[in-house]
Symmetry: D3
Subunit: 73 residues, 6 copies
């Protein structure tokens, strides 16, 4: 405790970015909860296949998210 699940669409983020997410989110929580809980702070990355995540009924692909990131979505 705490347990954090970060849900992403597969193919959007690199392995390095996912490692950064685990580190930064852990540090954010530890800054609030205190260092003593670091060892029981679990952060997981869970990836959903591209196209299996719908927003307003339309499937979101990894490509669509990258366009959105670049302001071309």
């Amino acid at each position: 405790m705490p347990l954090v699940d970060i849900h992403l669409i597969k193919g959007v983020f690199s392995d390095q970015q996912k490692r950064q997410m685990i580190e930064k989110v852990t540090d954010s929580l530890v800054s609030i909860e205190g260092e003593a809980l670091r060892g029981v702070t679990w952060v997981r990355i869970l990836e959903v296949a591209s196209g299996d995540w719908g927003i307003g009924g339309r499937p979101m692909t990894a490509e669509a998210v990258r366009h959105l990131q670049q302001g071309t979505g």
Copy 2:
């Protein structure tokens, strides 16, 4: 909000059926919550490996589900 997770066994439904599920489930919710919430209605498909879903202790495979669908299960 709302967020909907549809959990399936991998290999039972086609990509087209999964797209239909996202569309129909979104429309069902929007018909209750109102059109204004469509943009924040997220529907995801999450698939579990065939054999990793047990019912009453016995692993359910994609093949077993298809037999059940056809009334031969």
Copy 3:
């Protein structure tokens, strides 16, 4: 299988609306998967406390969602 989880903010929808969601979402799935799977189609409503659901870092309250529904958000 399938299992569907509908995540809502507490206080936005009435019990009657939640019942409708369970019925309509079940019917949507059964229309795709076939009647034979109705008995193993589970649909659950999971509610999160108002204020515990952040969008872009800002907590979303039940009141804010209702404003959004009415086009005054």
Copy 4:
């Protein structure tokens, strides 16, 4: 996308700390994914009743976590 679920034991953190978690975790993700995705970055707090979270088979209570935080656990 992304969607983040922060699972806590009820009674350990104040409302203010939970708001800070939503803000800080959102900011951590946005610093990696880019500002353009802030609006579709959802962070939720999900709380489990004290005693309903077992570690190694022993129920963890809110009180036990607070002792751990203070180094008296």
Copy 5:
């Protein structure tokens, strides 16, 4: 790792039964994974409100589950 989530309908099981579930499920896993992983074996009880869990489109109440348990369902 492992993390186990046991989802129940509120009002069906007593606190004592929920404690037993945490203990027994932990012991089952440890018997397979080895004693060395006991400390990182987390088992949680997550309860859904009575009526918010639909089977085949019909809401399941705590009362209905108890009838089922007694063979009168």
Copy 6:
């Protein structure tokens, strides 16, 4: 009901061990809830990619878990 989700790191356990988990965890629950609920007791195995599960901010790999199992971690 009940529904049990067992979250593992991919590559740590064999298919046979995962089948044993489904069986043993189902039997543990049935021993508490009663035989009448066996048919509606669902147990699922959900696997996370090696490296996508962080403890204290450091990614846990399947290899690291096996070292831990053997007391060499």
